[in-house]
């Protein structure tokens, strides 16, 4: 098992915000992540966990500093686990563009050189990280997952593929149909190769079309989102979501793509997840 090293720890809303690092066997590099434990977790109580997946170019720090989630998580008694967006390091392949390589892992398992050795984010997020969390922190077996933009894609895609692992899923401005937008086409062709059949295994709209989803699902996207038209394919998500029993996909009037949007609706998403995490 990886040894966890604490980088820093801060009291926050009565709970504890901790940044840690560990040697990831799955990714072949040192990985950082952050954990927020609510005050309830220091009383010997095991608490449920929301996993948060960050967008392109981000790290665990974007959500940790800008989302305002800890205030609500402290009230509700939820742990928050916030991984990085890709493997990192000088020996890890990279690309000069912001939307490929480090900071842009797309939460999938790469099959193509030079990426396939390190870019195994799907396995990291669904296996190695939760195993570490569940062995080292006072959490129970209730998990939810959410994320923003590339991380919204990650959350919806992962919940679609492993619905038994989660009680609920949500997303903010997700890249909902990556095989039909420039960001996704660039990443999928680099990480997965040219056969678009292989892309469908990581595409939310395709997964939902093929398998449905009975999990409660909540998605918000702003009408002033600067990536709405070219990258997000929200209408394609709506078209498939209307056939699901527990899915709501909403447009939020006038909001754009940043954490000014995310933080505005964070409390509502956390209370949505808490309905199921605390049930």
């Amino acid at each position: 098992m990886s040894v966890l090293t604490t980088i820093n720890q801060r009291k926050h809303f009565g709970g504890t915000q901790t940044r840690l690092e560990h040697a990831s066997a799955v990714l072949g590099c040192t990985m950082r992540f952050s954990v927020f434990l609510p005050p309830q977790a220091s009383n010997g109580q095991r608490v449920p966990v929301l996993y948060w997946l960050t967008g392109l170019t981000g790290t665990d720090e974007n959500f940790s500093t800008k989302s305002g989630a800890q205030r609500v998580a402290a009230q509700l008694g939820l742990a928050l686990v916030i991984p990085d967006t890709s493997p990192r390091g000088e020996h890890v392949p990279n690309d000069e563009a912001y939307d490929l390589g480090q900071g842009a892992g797309f939460y999938l398992n790469a099959t193509q050189a030079p990426w396939q050795k390190n870019f195994q984010m799907f396995d990291y997020i669904t296996c190695e990280l939760p195993s570490l969390i569940e062995q080292n922190f006072p959490v129970n077996d209730k998990r939810a997952i959410s994320g923003h933009s590339m991380g919204g894609h990650g959350a919806l895609m992962i919940a679609s593929k492993l619905p038994q692992r989660f009680v609920s899923v949500s997303a903010f401005a997700p890249i909902a149909n990556p095989m039909r937008c420039p960001w996704g086409q660039k990443a999928f062709s680099a990480y997965l190769g040219d056969d678009q059949q292989d892309w469908k295994a990581y595409d939310t709209v395709e997964l939902l079309k093929a398998h449905g989803l009975s999990l409660p699902m909540l998605v918000d996207t702003g009408t002033a989102d600067e990536f709405l038209e070219k990258q997000l394919n929200t209408d394609a998500l709506i078209a498939v979501a209307v056939k699901l029993p527990n899915a709501r996909v909403r447009y939020q009037d006038g909001y754009e793509h940043s954490y000014y949007f995310v933080s505005t609706f964070m409390e509502e998403h956390l209370r949505f997840h808490a309905t199921y995490l605390l049930a």
Copy 2:
């Protein structure tokens, strides 16, 4: 009058977060600041204003992205005005250290070369900026002031010198007695010269000793603050505050110096100010 240019504008908690810039006559450079207007301000209503002063090395963006203040300001109907921490630009004097020059204006009017031409932050914060705000935004004449660290010093010092301008003052981890700590001694000697009599005009503890303060005042500092012992002089502030009619200075157990601390107590500070701003 300066012309205001909008750099960006984002919907946030139903209100509007705007970043602007203008040519400052007082500071002799282009200055950026941010304004949050709550939803109430778009209904033709004039709202009261909280001015926020940021700490060393910061800009208007620290508070704007990390404090969580807009959520509460939107509920209460408060505008937030967030200036930068110093004059800026290639032609503006600077120092290699993080605690002198750009990013470290200490909210005073410098008298010494090379600083005195641009480093007139006291006049900027108390004259030029509020004049701009009151001419360009739907605000009324109720003002409060708060800040963090160097900005906590600024808020307490400015409210002590101009109590008639504000209805209330608060601070997070303020540098309360700058003439008795390394940060303050370095800055005051550079900006104000070697005569310590001149320093007293910008030192909160000295101002409160000399003139008292009848304004409601709330100060929070964490017991785990890494600057508590050497820089903040909180005990000296407590010693003078206990003689004031409306002052509370509190230690918060286990909290350190960052916005993880600030955001934890932000709602309580805003509700404290709202008691007077909305009276």
